[in-house]
């Protein structure tokens, strides 16, 4: 079955403003979603670290980031299995992250 990648865009400020109770509710919803049988893999990405590598003038430059492109970063990803792109979209419609930010879906070429 084709694989699709879900990229979660995150704004850390949104999370910072949640009460502990609201945060717990969110965690429970995310983890319940993670346990769906169609989810192949999923990881959170550390918001505080990141490196960007670029080759410039024959030399690889390593910079911290990406922080410059606004406050939104990728907070996590999933790989899910679905019969079609439509189904992948349908399966993602109830993702709890949609309360906090955007979800980007990409199809893995197979």
């Amino acid at each position: 079955m084709p694989h699709y990648m879900l990229l979660l865009r995150d704004d850390r400020e949104t999370w910072n403003n949640l009460s502990p109770e609201a945060m717990q509710k969110a965690v429970e919803k995310y983890y319940a979603w993670r346990k769906n049988p169609f989810v192949v893999d999923g990881k959170g990405l550390n918001a505080g670290t990141g490196r960007v590598l670029r080759r410039e003038n024959g030399k690889v430059n390593v910079t911290d980031g990406p922080f410059s492109e606004g406050r939104e970063v990728f907070g996590g990803y999933y790989v899910i299995e679905a019969a079609s792109f439509d189904e992948a979209v349908q399966l993602s419609m109830d993702h709890p992250h949609l309360e906090f930010g955007g979800v980007e879906i990409r199809e893995a070429i197979h």
Binding site: V27, Y30, K43
Partner: protein, 415 residues
């Protein structure tokens, strides 16, 4: 995951860390807790809940505090000592300190939050934030005020703690009594905020009532326990027991004397009477004792008809002696009507009409309207209920008052 784990853990961890770091580093303790929650959210959302979630959160907050202390060369005091002291504590976290230690930290925290040098409204907000883990937004929703107002109160209170060097040490014997009174008052204000007639937000309000009860029981179980503390626990448990019966399926208000007693929470009633009996030790009678005695009278009655209004009035007579508040006098007037009739009750209201704290308080004209209707003076009753509806009150109360107004108009037409 345990219900309310994050919220409970937030209070415990702030209290514990502030105990280690000192009240001067309250902000660092709060930041560390916030960081631990954020990291948990990032990790647990994908990896699931760890085996010992409390220990996980303690450890992350503790390590964050140490790393911030190490980094913070701008601190004026000897950070090295503090870091060293913190590190020796790391070992203990694995066993998640003892319950006893944690309770002691929470107790010290609430006693600091209720320091007489802090303004009264700030004490309530601060306790809910630091000891109980509610956010400024949640506190604002409970007390129906703006979130920015709560945030400001919190900031000012924390500045006062820093500037006046208010510590987490328990007050000395002479002052302890006084401080305990403040703590009990704050806990009951918390409870009353949650107990106030629900205007939406039913769940969070119930949570606050239960939290206030937990804090009072914690004080009651500590070495500074005294009969008034037991009386306060009894009062809150007996009142909280009635929460399920207070509104009907449509969310409309049900008067105490018309409530379906089978809906009352028997566990809380049993807890209430247990603490009520305990509070009888000794001879001193506090206001909490009398209020608990009134709540106990209602709870004792198996049916609304069985309520012993004379006994309740006797308690109110005693309460008025100790607390000259017009609200107490108003509540008493409603009981006077049950015992001595509407004419007598109306006379009780007269001195309250000019009482400024009751100005714009909807229950004064509402009680007056009720009494006048009982006397068959429907035209005046209508005026009173109309006046009540002009005051601020919650939606269920408004619906209730409107219904009363309609009934009075109906009876006036039939007359």
């Amino acid at each position: 995951m345990l219900e309310h784990l994050f919220r409970m853990q937030a209070g415990r961890t702030v209290s514990w860390l502030a105990g280690l770091l000192g009240s001067q580093h309250l902000q660092l303790a709060e930041d560390a807790v916030q960081e631990s929650m954020l990291r948990a959210a990032q990790s647990w959302s994908f990896e699931g809940i760890p085996e010992k979630p409390e220990a996980w959160l303690f450890r992350v907050a503790h390590n964050y505090a140490i790393s911030m202390l190490r980094r913070g060369s701008n601190f004026e005091t000897k950070m090295d000592d503090l870091v060293a002291a913190m590190e020796t504590r790391t070992l203990q976290i694995e066993d998640v300190c003892t319950e006893e230690q944690l309770r002691d930290d929470e107790l010290r925290m609430i006693f600091m939050c209720c320091h007489p040098e802090l303004p009264q409204e700030a004490r309530v907000a601060l306790s809910l934030k630091l000891v109980s883990g509610f956010s400024a937004g949640e506190i604002a929703r409970i007390f129906l005020v703006e979130e920015s107002t709560v945030a400001q109160r919190l900031v000012r209170a924390k500045r006062l703690i820093r500037e006046r060097n208010l510590s987490l040490g328990m007050p000395a014997n002479g002052e302890l009594r006084h401080r305990l009174d403040s703590v009990l008052q704050v806990i009951y204000l918390m409870f009353s905020g949650g107990y106030a007639v629900p205007a939406g937000e039913k769940l969070i309000r119930q949570d606050v009532c239960i939290e206030a009860l937990r804090l009072a029981r914690m004080v009651a179980a500590s070495s500074i326990a005294s009969p008034p503390v037991d009386a306060l626990v009894a009062l809150m448990a007996l009142q909280a027991a009635r929460l399920p019966a207070r509104t009907d399926a449509a969310g409309d208000l049900v008067l105490l004397e018309e409530q379906d007693h089978t809906l009352w929470d028997n566990g809380l009633i049993a807890m209430g009477f247990y603490y009520f009996d305990k509070s009888m030790i000794g001879t001193a009678v506090s206001e909490w004792h009398i209020q608990a005695a009134i709540a106990a009278e209602y709870a004792k009655a198996q049916t609304p008809q069985a309520i012993d209004w004379r006994a309740i009035l006797a308690h109110y007579d005693e309460l008025v002696q100790m607390n000259a508040s017009p609200i107490v006098a108003l509540n008493r007037a409603a009981v006077v009507m049950k015992v001595h009739g509407a004419d007598a009750a109306l006379a009780e209201l007269l001195p309250l009409e000019t009482c400024s704290p009751l100005h714009a308080y909807h229950l004064l004209p509402a009680v007056r309207g009720h009494i006048l209707a009982e006397l068959g003076r429907f035209a005046e009753s209508e005026i009173a209920f109309t006046a009540a509806l002009k005051c601020d009150c919650s939606d269920p109360e408004r619906r209730f008052l409107r219904k009363q107004l309609e009934v009075v108009r109906e009876r006036q037409r039939a007359h």
